[in-house]
């Protein structure tokens, strides 16, 4: 038998109506975005959101060697979302799992509407997202970072896609769930939007929401996206300004 003495005390916030980390219901975790952090990649970005540390890199538009993926009239935007083995409490085995395959697919769909893919027939734009440290909400953080990396790579875009989650934890509709809120909460709803038009390019939901809660969560998440969008712009300007 192995007995584990733990010193980790999570306040799950269940006792009070407040959030475990003291945030207001509509408050984002601290965020930091930097563009142009890698040398070899055509574009790159680093993002911290709460305890999340995310790196995104872009190669392309470049030649696509796999003929069966080629599109005659536009580029393919391929994504690979990957977690570092040391990014989570229990070591993650290297290589794709079902979760990362799904996230890679929906990330590609979240970014594609903003990119002028039709300008680059028969090409690929490759987006690589590395989660160096995970603390809830990595898929949104990855999309937000990837969008900055696309801009850094000079890929022509209609808009800078931005992503954020809202959800329900401890009976309350809240913005930007932390890891503990995601795990113990009632619902998580990541979205991505093109901020100029407010159009939705990613929408998932997992959990239990009434229609009213859904609308409230959607509004919260869209507002969160707009705040994050400002940080994206600063990062891009910081690179070129």
């Amino acid at each position: 038998m192995i007995t584990i003495i733990t010193n980790k005390e999570f306040s799950t916030g269940i006792e009070t109506s407040e959030r475990a980390d003291g945030r207001a219901f509509d408050e984002l975790r601290p965020i930091k975005i930097e563009a142009g952090v890698l040398n070899r990649a055509d574009g790159s970005a680093y993002l911290e959101l709460g305890g999340n540390k995310i790196l995104a890199a872009v190669y392309g538009p470049r030649e696509l060697h796999i003929r069966r993926l080629m599109q005659p009239n536009r580029a393919v935007l391929r994504c690979r979302y990957n977690m570092a083995p040391f990014s989570v409490d229990d070591r993650k085995r290297p290589g794709p799992d079902r979760r990362s395959v799904e996230i890679s697919k929906i990330t590609s769909e979240a970014l594609s509407p903003a990119v002028f893919l039709e300008k680059f027939p028969r090409s690929t734009i490759d987006v690589f997202i590395e989660v160096l440290e995970a603390e809830g909400g990595t898929r949104c953080a990855g999309i937000t970072a990837a969008s900055v990396a696309l801009a850094d790579a000079g890929v022509p875009m209609r808009d800078i896609v931005v992503s954020c989650a809202a959800g329900k934890a401890n009976g309350q509709v809240v913005l930007d769930l932390s890891e503990i809120e995601d795990k113990e909460g009632e619902a998580d709803m990541p979205i991505a939007i093109m901020p100029r038009t407010g159009e939705i390019t990613l929408l998932q939901s997992d959990g239990h929401l009434t229609s009213e809660e859904f609308e409230k969560a959607l509004d919260l998440a869209m507002n969160g996206c707009k705040k994050i969008s400002e940080e994206q712009k600063k990062a891009i300007l910081g690179r070129y300004g």
Binding site: E102, K105, E109, P113, I200, H208, L209, S211, F214
Partner: protein
């Protein structure tokens, strides 16, 4: 394999929708013919064959006794897996599940798990040590669009059809009594409705043809009380907030009708 859809087909379907019509004569919020049989595989502890139009999935369950996950010692395990068989479409290839297959099984799994279709707490045999693990396998035989709604409908039916042996503990020993077969503890019948956005309109239950040219897709899982248990947007174009809200409202209505296809319990 990339399927190239001629522009003329895209235009023709889109124009129909803009005129309030669909190529197979359906209205926007009308499902194709649905057929649902259960108990179709005798060796499977629970099974269903679902057809929506010409889309066809056979679903089977296999219960096994196993260990719970260390972080959830007091609930049983539901494992959902799907295979887009190469017989189902000319561009489905043999091999490990691709991203479409992974998305299908994960969305189905989330819809069923988050809605609480199976009362997983009742699947514990001995807390922290032995629980029932229910494997839910989706075998996609014929692909003519809208796999998600078919997958959830058939999965709920297969779970409702599933019988497991009663277990009890006597003198520290687990007795698995195949003479007393009991139904899985079903506590909710959540279903999913999928909308395609074509020509600025939302239509439900897209056929293959409609899927191939649609701008976006949204699938919504709805519980019996009308609340939302799962959502998944797909496709390479965006949706507006209003479209999403309209889709949710419609799916709350439509799943009520859809639920009538499920067997009496």
């Amino acid at each position: 394999m990339v399927t190239i859809i001629p522009e003329i087909i895209r235009e023709s379907i889109t124009n129909l929708v803009k005129n309030g019509e669909r190529s197979d004569g359906r209205s926007f919020y009308e499902y194709r013919d649905i057929s649902l049989e259960t108990g179709v595989i005798e060796k499977s502890e629970g099974s269903a064959r679902v057809k929506i139009g010409k889309t066809q999935i056979v679903i089977g369950t296999k219960p096994q006794i196993g260990e719970p996950f260390p972080d959830t010692p007091n609930v049983g395990v539901l494992m959902t897996n799907s295979e887009l068989l190469p017989m189902a479409a000319p561009d489905f290839e043999p091999g490990p599940p691709d991203e479409r297959s992974v998305e299908l099984s994960r969305v189905t799994d989330r819809c069923i798990r988050e809605a609480g279709v199976v009362d997983l707490e009742k699947l514990v045999i001995s807390e922290g040590e032995k629980v029932w693990m229910i494997f839910l396998d989706l075998h996609v035989l014929d692909y003519d669009g809208n796999l998600m709604d078919a997958a959830v409908l058939g999965s709920v039916a297969a779970l409702m059809n599933t019988k497991i042996p009663e277990t009890r503990i006597e003198n520290g020993e687990i007795i698995v009594d195949h003479e007393k077969m009991i139904s899985l503890p079903i506590k909710e019948k959540a279903l999913m409705t999928t909308f395609a956005k074509i020509g600025g309109e939302l239509i439900i239950d897209p056929s293959l043809e409609e899927e191939q040219i649609m701008d976006a897709r949204i699938s919504i899982g709805i519980r019996e009380d009308g609340s939302i248990c799962a959502m998944q947007k797909g496709g390479a174009n965006p949706l507006t907030k209003d479209e999403v809200i309209k889709a949710i409202s419609k799916s709350q209505e439509i799943t009520k009708e859809l639920r009538k296809h499920l067997p009496e319990n």
